[in-house]
């Protein structure tokens, strides 16, 4: 039995592994609160608390800032590749254009582009798969006609959970990773492996952004009409 299991594991093609990695991230919906800490190059910290709602994996996301007071009520709605921002001071809702997705999201090391990446399969194709003791090393490059800042991603995937524990982001034409994502403290919440602690490190500047999941619930149903620019103002304020 063990031999058969090992054979199946070894027989995993890069495409199959990518499908498994993506399938972990495709949960029907979630509601939760996370704490985001930005650590600047000089070691100064700024902390945000964000209430989030997701649907169809990360295809639909709504993030409402609840702390600190300066940004309370600011919110972002992501549907596929589209991003809208709401600013409570003026009551305005603005769609964010593609080029602006290179911007750091509220000063963090995550860009809007990182947040709209969705499943890996949507924008990347596997080109190489290696195996180490407890992990797979999967290399992805962007699919043809996909506009994305990254030229290559290298995923170090946990063999047990299929969660990418480390993801190196390479810019086009560069051979050193520009950013590194670390996912740890994997907990099984409602049968879904969930990284409770995520760090995005900018290897060029030394800044990093840490996200701790304070609360997450995959059971409570999330209304579909929550993810609509027309309700963004109402949802953000409440």
């Amino acid at each position: 039995m063990f031999t058969l299991f090992t054979f199946i594991i070894l027989a995993l093609s890069p495409e199959e592994l990518l499908s498994k990695v993506d399938s972990v991230a495709i949960f029907p919906h979630s509601i939760g609160v996370m704490e985001e800490t930005i650590i600047t190059t000089t070691g100064k910290k700024r902390t945000f608390k964000i209430k989030f709602y997701t649907k169809n994996g990360m295809d639909k996301q709504l993030m409402v800032y609840i702390f600190p007071p300066q940004v309370r009520g600011n919110s972002f709605l992501i549907i596929g590749d589209n991003v809208w921002a709401y600013f409570p001071e003026t009551g305005r809702i603005r769609k964010i254009a593609s080029h602006a997705k290179k911007q750091k999201m509220m000063g963090s090391d995550f860009t809007y582009e990182d947040m709209t990446m969705g499943t890996y399969k949507k924008k990347f194709k596997p080109v190489n798969l290696n195996e180490e003791k407890d992990i797979y090393v999967l290399t992805l490059i962007p699919k043809e006609n996909v506009k994305i800042s990254y030229g290559k991603l290298v995923l170090r995937v946990d063999k047990k959970t299929y969660v990418p524990l480390v993801v190196d982001f390479y810019r086009k034409g560069e051979d050193k990773p520009y950013k590194t994502l670390i996912q740890e403290d994997i907990k099984i919440v409602d049968y879904i492996p969930t990284p409770m602690h995520v760090v995005m490190r900018n290897n060029e500047t030394g800044s990093e952004t840490e996200i701790r999941t304070i609360r997450i619930d995959y059971k409570t149903k999330v209304e579909d009409d929550l993810f609509s620019p027309k309700r963004l103002r109402e949802v953000s304020e409440e």
Binding site: R46, P68, G91, R92, A97, H99, K230, E237, E238
Partner: protein
């Protein structure tokens, strides 16, 4: 009011305290005006209802009394006094009830129409400061209804009561999104607007009927937005077209907006005292017919550097506003903006002269 304060304190207050100081050049002499502002927010969701109040107390000091004639070209006018008065008021105070597909909203609230950054011609009820267009606006007393219709479309109806039904403002817009690519709205407003009488220098009100349009989309990855109005009575149009772009470093961005205002004038020699008073009071958007706004911004960790300018293309006057903001900690931020008005005497921005504004805000 004490009871009101008690109620607000009982509902877990949040908000901010802000101090602002401004040093400015008035007729060759530097003056100082400052304010302390406390904004207490209370909000509560009860079942499908939600209310929010922002109670503001603002206390001015320094040079609080002005003669508006000092900010105009010399017209041999009598003194037009203006005073910054300390006051207590609600910036927002509204109740929202959702009975799907309807959302009703009553009370003082943000209107939020328009996609422009520096100017919002479609938001005829709220006026932005040219020195800080992103600063929070005072709400408008309105009765509002949002009705969800098919897909990503909704209808936004508003009614702003005045002394009589006839003089009240009302209107609505259809808002929608097309395939995630284009946000747009089309609307109509019958509203009461205020103008300055050019003979007796007293405000008078008259009804206007306008069509409104706004959109936000992208072209070749560059953000494109615009908004405009067409006045059915005067046949005059106001339109804004803007683009925004973020450079490859992801930290530097710029925004350009062009405003065509047919209610403005194309020759500054035609500006009269009533035009100036309309402009100072926010009754008109700009003095000139063609204006151009530019903003360049760079974020460096806890600092944001920016330089913006507004140019009146007709009278060739400009106001340039370099600024910096810094986040001290999770609760406190500092913003410093300086400004200088350039141009020939009698032009829109030359009379602003120069000054520095610093603002420190602590949130709680």
């Amino acid at each position: 009011m004490n009871i009101l304060l008690f109620v607000i304190l009982a509902i877990k207050p949040e908000g901010f305290f802000e101090y602002q100081g401004e040093i400015f050049n008035l007729k060759g002499e530097y003056k100082f005006v400052g304010y302390s502002k406390l904004n207490l927010t209370s909000r509560q969701r009860i079942s499908s209802s939600y209310f929010r109040t922002d109670l503001v107390y603002i206390s001015y000091h320094g040079k609080t009394q002005y003669d508006l004639a000092d900010f105009m070209p010399e017209y041999a006018l009598p003194s037009i006094p203006f005073t910054y008065k300390s006051r207590l008021y609600f910036r927002n105070a509204f109740l929202r009830v959702r009975i799907s597909p309807l959302t009703l909203q009553f009370g003082r609230q943000q209107i939020g129409w328009g996609t422009g950054y520096a100017f919002n011609p479609t938001n005829v009820f709220q006026k932005k400061s040219i020195l800080d267009p992103s600063y929070e606006l005072d709400g408008v007393d309105a009765l509002r209804m949002f009705l969800d219709i098919a897909g990503s479309f909704d209808v936004d109806l508003l009614y702003i009561p005045e002394n009589s039904i006839d003089s009240s403002s009302y209107g609505g817009r259809l808002r929608g999104n097309v395939k995630g690519f284009l946000d747009f709205s089309l609307g109509y407003l019958d509203y009461l607007s205020t103008y300055m009488d050019p003979v007796i220098f007293l405000p008078f009100k008259k009804k206007n009927k306008i069509f409104t349009l706004d959109f936000s989309t992208e072209f070749l990855g560059i953000g494109v937005h615009g908004e405009g109005t067409y006045n059915l009575k005067t046949k005059k149009k106001i339109g804004l077209l803007g683009i925004d772009y973020t450079f490859n470093d992801g930290l530097t961005s710029c925004l350009l907006e062009y405003l065509r205002n047919e209610e403005g004038k194309d020759n500054f020699r035609d500006y009269n005292p009533a035009d100036w008073l309309d402009y100072f009071s926010g009754y008109t958007l700009t003095m000139g017919q063609n204006e151009f706004f530019f903003n360049l911004e760079r974020i460096h960790e806890l600092f944001t550097f920016k330089i913006s300018s507004i140019t009146n293309i007709n009278d060739k006057s400009t106001i340039v506003m370099p600024g910096i903001s810094y986040s001290f900690n999770d609760y406190t931020s500092l913003q410093i903006t300086s400004y200088v008005g350039l141009g020939r005497d009698g032009t829109e921005y030359s009379n602003i002269n120069d000054g520095v504004i610093f603002r420190i805000r602590v949130g709680f």
